[in-house]
């Protein structure tokens, strides 16, 4: 067990290092931050001075060494755009993104699972067909189109919901939450649904396929033969067995929710990490961009690590192989 964890951690460190290196070298091609900081009107001498002060005249490997050294101490530098420490900016933005991802994950689960069960049980009902057709739209339309359509319908035509931003924010000891007020919910609901739509469809289809599979198995037939009620068979036996892969997929999908949130945040002007990153790109704000990429890589690595460990805990076969020592 310990060897397994150590091995995984070692892999994680390598992944982090490679991501750091790649993201850092990518930034050599995004343009010169000095142009954005000074604007075209800045003089030649001003440019040189600023380049020197930012350390942009050092060779690239040296810049990377500095970067890694500082990152290990939790120092991500100062944003070129705002002159504030990057870690401070991330701490400010993280709650917005985490809440958005959290709410959309909940929506995806709470809506996706029942829909999946329903379509699995009532394969030929007209409602199932509607669910399946509509879910196709959810998968095939890009997120930003869905977001803008929702803004148009609920924000502009019906005027029920605010079209942009985050509101009703309450400070909970450093964590800025918008989940405690009605106004906060009115702001989060549209971006969260937009972000959830793809995952919702995925979960629904996954649950449906698993249900169809499980309902054909022998133990379900036995359960029915024993005269158990439909309800007990469907929910007590069938659904329980379909949820294992759903939980795994959901765990992994949280990573992509974080990644997809870039687009949703831009469309809804949601002040989270994704928006910070996109504005960082537009401004060639290298410290913000690299920190974001490294942080996202860290999230993915941690989620994967947890999923791996969960497998280890859940699946007895994985453990059994190691008991023999030389099983393979």
């Amino acid at each position: 067990m310990l060897a397994f964890i150590v091995q995984r951690l070692f892999q994680a460190i390598i992944v982090m290092f490679v991501v750091g290196l790649i993201s850092f070298s990518l930034f050599q091609y995004v343009g010169d931050p000095v142009n954005n900081m000074l604007g075209p009107e800045g003089s030649i001498e001003e440019r040189e001075r600023l380049r020197e002060r930012l350390g942009l005249n050092d060779p690239v490997p040296l810049q990377f060494m500095h970067y890694v050294g500082n990152a290990l101490q939790g120092e991500f530098g100062l944003s070129y755009r705002m002159g504030k420490p990057v870690d401070e900016l991330i701490v400010e933005r993280l709650p917005a993104t985490i809440e958005l991802v959290f709410v959309s994950a909940i929506i995806a689960l709470l809506v996706g699972v029942p829909m999946g069960v329903y379509t699995g049980l009532n394969r030929n009902s007209w409602l199932s067909r509607i669910f399946l057709t509509v879910s196709l739209v959810g998968i095939s339309l890009p997120t930003f189109v869905i977001g803008i359509l929702m803004i148009l319908i609920f924000g502009v035509w019906l005027g029920w919901l605010p079209t942009f931003g985050r509101g009703g924010v309450v400070d909970l000891g450093g964590w800025q939450t918008s989940l405690l007020t009605l106004q906060g919910w009115s702001h989060i609901i549209m971006p969260a649904i937009t972000l959830a739509l793809f995952q919702l469809t995925l979960i629904m289809r996954l649950v449906r396929a698993e249900m169809l599979e499980v309902l054909r198995t022998d133990y379900i037939k036995f359960a029915r033969a024993r005269g158990l009620r439909n309800r007990a068979v469907n929910y007590g036996h069938a659904l329980k067995n379909t949820l294992v892969p759903v939980i795994t997929i959901m765990g992994l999908q949280i990573g992509s929710l974080l990644a997809f949130s870039i687009i949703t945040e831009t469309v809804f002007a949601w002040p989270g990490m994704g928006l910070l990153f996109l504005q960082g790109i537009a401004f060639v704000d290298i410290p913000v961009m690299s920190s974001y990429l490294v942080l996202m890589a860290l999230f993915f690595v941690i989620i994967n690590l947890i999923v791996d460990l969960l497998y280890y805990a859940v699946d007895p076969r994985l453990r059994a192989e190691h008991v023999g020592g030389a099983a393979h």
Binding site: G31, E41, L50, L54, G55, K84, I151, F164, F268, Q279
Partner: protein, 532 residues
């Protein structure tokens, strides 16, 4: 579904909460643009939206009105004592937002702070030798030489409180790397509005400053202003249509007719001071696209003329800009000091003449050319370039369009890559509102601080000479003649091809906004916002 029933209930509840919060006298003005301000230190950044915000909070000696005229702000009057010395009498009884009194010491201190190396605003005071206190409420500004445009730069000279800055150790202007700047987060000015809250990339909330010296004459009746950055064009339009904001800019050109059709919204359009132009490689002996030939066609004035006559600026205005631009023949816009109305005719569109000129120059079969263009900097920049390509191909030039993001574009055509371009697009607004600025930056190259964005290294001995004279000539008539001559030479030998001034487009809620002045430098000065 449970969810669909939930939304209207929720929305109704929200509406109820919002309705009870509204106060009869409160006039909240909410406006949005593409990006957030960079900071609140008046001497740190020189960037459009940031300067606008600074103008609401800080006082200057001289204020520039929406019609570009100069009026007293913290100075009540001024006069030239001798060719290099100006005397400014200061307004009495002016208080900073923290209650401190404004006096001559603050002007001297602000001068020292703004002229630091790290200040981007130092350009406005580049010609100033020193600022001398000559009384508690009078200063003298001494220039290095006679400076004809000192007054034009005064609206860029921001006043800070000496005691406040010193107490917080904020003399140094900190930018980019190093440490965070106190003044960037804690503004203290003499302007009509003060900052209540700044949540980065989210909102800036302003409230009127009760102790503002000019409160009686202030046009605005706004009691609270909320500035929000909304980067996505469609979202910004939707926010205006749904009535969540009262003003937003820029309006994407394709949405102008749609917004105009909405009874609750109107679009305010006007010319901007920025001139969009095309530039040539004037200096390489061999064009980048013609390796091995030893030829640079652009060294021949006939080829440059052929290009100028091949481009249909009216078609660009009509089709690409949907009418929202003013075709131009000069490198400066109307309203800029030194603009010559009679010389502003664009080069005539005449492809036949263009072909003839190319044949005469020995390029009857054309030549290959890479066209460098930004795609996220100016209004419809890439679309303009895409329209120019077939116009040039019609006269035989084989154009490859290289449109890319602004930071890469500016790298390529700028000093970073040694002006690695043969033909490019650029836009320019003279920060000083004077013709000397483009002459210095775009049309000359040999002097110190000249030619920062003369990417094709256009060089004419007489224009260089004239520019140096314009810098120190105080007599307005004489100076104007020199500017005319320089522009005439530049026009006749097609140094650049000016295309147009792009139009400003603001979307305004006609239900809530009574009047707002649109200044040609595309900013919202809260002094001139009147709500219904």
């Amino acid at each position: 579904m449970r969810l669909s029933r939930f939304i209207p209930v929720l929305a109704a509840a929200v509406a109820a909460v919002l309705a009870t919060g509204a106060d009869a006298d409160a006039k909240t003005f909410r406006y949005a643009t593409t990006g957030d301000i960079l900071g609140l230190d008046p001497h740190s950044n020189n960037e459009g939206p940031t300067n606008t915000m600074k103008g609401n909070i800080y006082g200057r000696l001289v204020h520039r009105k929406p019609d570009l005229s100069l009026v007293p702000d913290l100075a009540t009057d001024w006069s030239r004592v001798n060719p290099t010395t100006w005397r400014f009498n200061l307004r009495a009884g002016v208080k900073f937002h923290n209650g401190n009194t404004f006096n001559a010491d603050d002007v001297v201190y602000s001068f020292k702070r703004q002229t630091q190396e790290s200040s981007e605003m130092a350009f406005a005071l580049a010609s100033v030798e020193e600022v001398r206190k000559v009384g508690d409420l009078a200063v003298e500004i001494v220039t290095k030489g006679p400076d004809p445009i000192l007054l034009l730069n005064m609206p860029n000279f921001y006043m800070v409180d000496k005691e406040f800055m010193e107490a917080n150790g904020a003399f140094e202007v900190v930018r980019g790397a190093g440490k965070t700047n106190f003044a960037n987060l804690n503004p203290n000015g003499t302007g009509p509005f003060k900052i209540v809250e700044w949540v980065q990339d989210n909102r800036v909330v302003l409230a009127p400053y009760d102790g503002y010296w000019g409160k009686a004459d202030l046009e605005t009746n706004v009691t609270e202003a909320i500035f929000t950055p909304i980067p996505n064009n469609a979202t910004r339009v939707a926010a205006l249509l749904s009535g969540e904001i009262d003003l937003m800019y820029p309006v994407p050109l394709q949405d102008v007719p749609r917004l105009d059709a909405d009874p609750n919204v109107k679009v305010l359009q006007g010319p901007e001071l920025r001139t969009i132009f095309l530039g040539f490689d004037h200096w390489r002996d061999e064009l980048l696209d013609l390796p091995g030939t030893g030829k640079n066609p652009f060294k021949d004035v006939r080829v440059r003329k052929a290009f100028a006559h091949a481009i249909d600026t009216k078609a660009i205005q009509r089709v690409v800009m949907r009418g929202a631009s003013t075709p131009t023949g000069l490198m400066v816009a109307p309203g800029i000091n030194g603009f010559q109305k009679d010389m502003n005719t664009p080069y005539a569109f005449d492809p036949e003449m263009s072909k003839k000129l190319l044949t005469e120059a020995g390029y009857g079969d054309g030549f290959p050319l890479t066209f460098d263009c930004p795609n996220d900097r100016y209004v419809n920049d890439e679309a303009i370039c895409t329209a120019v390509v077939p116009m040039l191909e019609r006269v035989g030039i084989k154009v490859t369009l290289n449109a890319q993001t602004k930071s890469l574009h500016f790298n390529k055509i700028g000093k970073t890559e040694g002006n690695n371009t043969s033909f490019y697009m650029l836009g320019w607004t003279p920060g000083s509102y004077d013709a000397y600025n483009p002459l210095q930056n775009l049309m000359t190259i040999d002097g110190k601080g000249q030619g920062a964005w003369n990417s094709g290294r256009y060089n004419n001995a007489r224009v260089e000479e004239l520019t140096d004279m314009i810098a120190v000539t105080v007599d307005e008539k004489k100076r104007n003649d020199l500017i005319r001559e320089a522009f005439k030479i530049h026009y006749d030998e097609v140094g650049h091809i000016p295309l147009h001034q792009q139009a400003l487009a603001w979307g305004i809620s006609s239900k809530t906004v009574d009047k707002v002045w649109q200044r040609p430098f595309n900013d919202v000065d809260l002094r001139y916002v009147v709500m219904k």
